[in-house]
């Protein structure tokens, strides 16, 4: 079993050193420590709903993004770029999940998925996924839940903050996994004629509207398809981001990301909110 896991990890591209580190962290042993990048609030809240942090997990991929140009006057998806953004994120996420799996974790909370254009060069982006692997203690989430992993028997992932995670579990839902959709879209430039015609007028630029609509719809439908694959009830905490990266003003990436959830029980009652004066800055 462990050998099987070891080879799996190597296939995912997790380095030897990382595996050794994970083996040392393996929870349950006396004297085992945990690492986490949770804030104090999150750490305490995650423990409160019955999860124990076991380790800081991360996945990285540095990716050379290919080249594709949109036609000047045409709105279209740039599928080479879409695929690059998607594939690289997938690589980073899978490596993070593999690390969590090696720790024997039930899930990863507080995941941050970032793209950074680092000093490696113009077309090279770093994709990084960081989160805290957690193990469910008996009776977590009000008890009665035996399996926290998703239908691919991988640890669940969630980009919800510790606070949101607490609220979600308390309300009788469990996260299944982070789902995402990406679409890089080239928006057509205005033709000279229509540009001249619009000077000084208040009009809607229908082709721009249409292009932005299409691109967002594509990204969101891809995200939904991922959620359906996980047999989720719904997606919470969706963020719809736009990045222009280094492609100029008419080529934009639309990126939708959220956490797919499933119900744990029938009733979903949360405590009545109370008014407080927060001391937090």
């Amino acid at each position: 079993m462990t050998e099987q896991q070891g080879t799996d990890l190597e296939v995912q591209g997790v380095p030897q050193d990382a595996m050794r580190r994970l083996a040392e962290l393996r929870p349950g042993r006396p004297g085992a420590i945990f690492t986490s990048d949770l804030s104090v609030n999150e750490f305490l809240l995650v423990r409160e709903v019955g999860f124990r942090p076991v380790g800081l997990v991360l996945g990285t991929s540095i990716y050379h993004v290919g080249l594709q140009f949109g036609r000047w006057g045409q709105s279209q998806e740039l599928d080479v770029l879409s695929q690059a953004m998607y594939h690289a994120r997938e690589l980073a996420m899978t490596r993070m999940e593999a690390e969590a799996q090696a720790l024997g974790a039930d899930g990863v909370v507080g995941v941050r998925l970032d793209v950074e254009m680092k000093e490696f060069g113009a077309d090279i982006a770093e994709f990084i996924a960081v989160g805290t692997a957690v193990v469910a203690e008996p009776g977590a989430g009000g008890g009665g839940v035996t399996n926290w992993k998703n239908n691919k028997s991988m640890p669940f992932t969630s980009d919800l903050s510790g606070q949101d995670f607490w609220t979600l579990i308390r309300a009788g839902y469990a996260p299944l996994g982070m789902v995402m959709g990406s679409c890089v879209y080239h928006i057509a430039h205005q033709r000279l004629g229509s540009k001249m015609g619009n000077i000084g007028r208040n009009v809607e630029l229908e082709q721009f509207t249409q292009a932005l609509y299409d691109a967002r719809e594509l990204a969101m439908s891809r995200m939904q398809a991922e959620a359906e694959e996980l047999a989720a009830e719904g997606i919470v905490g969706v963020q719809l981001r736009q990045h222009s990266h280094t492609w100029g003003s008419h080529t934009t990436e639309f990126f939708a990301i959220g956490t797919a959830v499933r119900p744990l029980r029938e009733d979903h009652i949360i405590q009545t909110p109370t008014m407080v004066l927060s001391l937090d800055a």
């Binding site: 420590i33 000093e119 770093e126």
Partner: protein, 342 residues
């Protein structure tokens, strides 16, 4: 680990004087916000004074004459695995080192970066000892340039020492980068900071032909293996160092605030016209340990009264003329005062 831990006696005279004054006057300075102060005093602590530690270091040597690729391929040194027998040309037929073998670790630089931060922190905690305080919270750990020379860096640690009235501790004071609120929450749940845990790793890797090929315009969508490996390895090393620190301190765990990666390029010291990439990964967190496992205070679902949605102030209209509007203004205390006779 720094070789000499500065104690109260070794502090600079100016610092000693300031701390002695502060101690005698029983008044304190602090960089805590009002909310932080309120939170800390809730669990029985009070600020003892602002403390700082600084260390200026020369950090020039990033493994300046090292490059595993250059040594194996160009100079034909190192492990015989990389030496193709019987080939005359310096590059021909020579397999390049890959994976971990291609990455050089800048050990001297790592230990300087670690020691410099440790020195700043231990000077800060020495000030804390001089104040008779228990530990330092809300520590800001900063690295800044010193003058124009980019090799000289100043490492600063700035925080607020706190004490518990009536408690004298012989233990080494702790340092923590948690805010006052976070500190309060930890203490209320039976956890205590042990100290600042650091993980630093610096490594470099030559841009070999494969890497260069993967980064040309024509490469298309492809993962740059070498860079990925380098960054991942350095982050892993940094996490390993962090864990070593935890074990050294005897902590149960760590809450991490900062995970930084700095990437720079340099001229390869061995291969002419070659380029290397240098990655520096830093993790800073507060090591914590559990001192009690009492039932934590309950957590309620709450709605914040924050100022994000501005509520207009209540309109008070006072009508002194009496008459037909009397009914509307009767509820207002100002109006009702003026209207009893009218």
């Amino acid at each position: 680990m720094p070789t000499s831990e500065p104690t109260g006696e070794q502090l600079p005279p100016a610092a000693r004087e300031r701390l002695a004054d502060q101690r005698a006057a029983r008044s304190w300075g602090s960089s805590l916000s009002v909310s932080e102060f309120a939170a800390v005093s809730k669990v029985g602590f009070e600020p003892a004074g602002q403390v700082l530690g600084a260390a200026v270091y020369n950090v020039g040597d990033a493994g300046d004459d090292e490059c595993p690729y250059g040594k194996a391929v160009y100079r034909r040194e190192g492990s015989p695995v990389y030496r193709a027998p019987g080939s005359g040309l310096p590059f021909a037929g020579r397999p390049a080192p890959t994976g971990a073998a291609a990455i050089g670790s800048a050990r001297p630089l790592v230990s300087v970066l670690y020691q410099a931060r440790r020195a700043a922190i231990s000077r800060m905690t020495a000030e804390c000892t001089a104040l008779g305080a228990l530990g330092v919270i809300a520590v800001h750990l900063e690295v800044g340039p010193f003058g124009d020379d980019e090799d000289i860096l100043e490492f600063r640690a700035l925080g607020t020492a706190i004490r518990a009235p009536g408690v004298v501790s012989r233990a080494q004071p702790f340092a923590s980068d948690l805010s006052g609120q976070d500190f309060t929450k930890l203490v209320a749940h039976g956890w205590m900071p042990v100290g600042l845990a650091l993980g630093v790793a610096v490594g470099y890797r030559h841009d070999d032909w494969l890497t260069r090929g993967q980064t040309t315009m024509a490469a298309g969508n492809v993962e740059v293996d070498g860079y990925t490996y380098l960054v991942r390895q350095m982050r892993t090393d940094a996490r390993n160092e962090l864990e070593l620190d935890l074990v050294r301190m005897g902590a149960d765990g760590v809450v991490v605030r900062e995970l930084q990666t700095k990437i720079t390029e340099r001229k390869c010291p061995i291969v002419p016209l070659g380029r290397d990439h240098v990655v520096e990964a830093t993790i800073v967190g507060t090591a914590i340990t559990q001192f009690a496992s009492f039932a934590p205070p309950p957590i309620y679902g709450v709605r914040k009264l924050d100022l994000r949605r501005a509520v207009p102030p209540p309109q008070v209209s006072v009508n002194l003329s009496g008459g037909e509007e009397q009914d509307e203004t009767a509820g207002s205390p100002v109006a009702s005062q003026d209207l009893p006779e009218g």
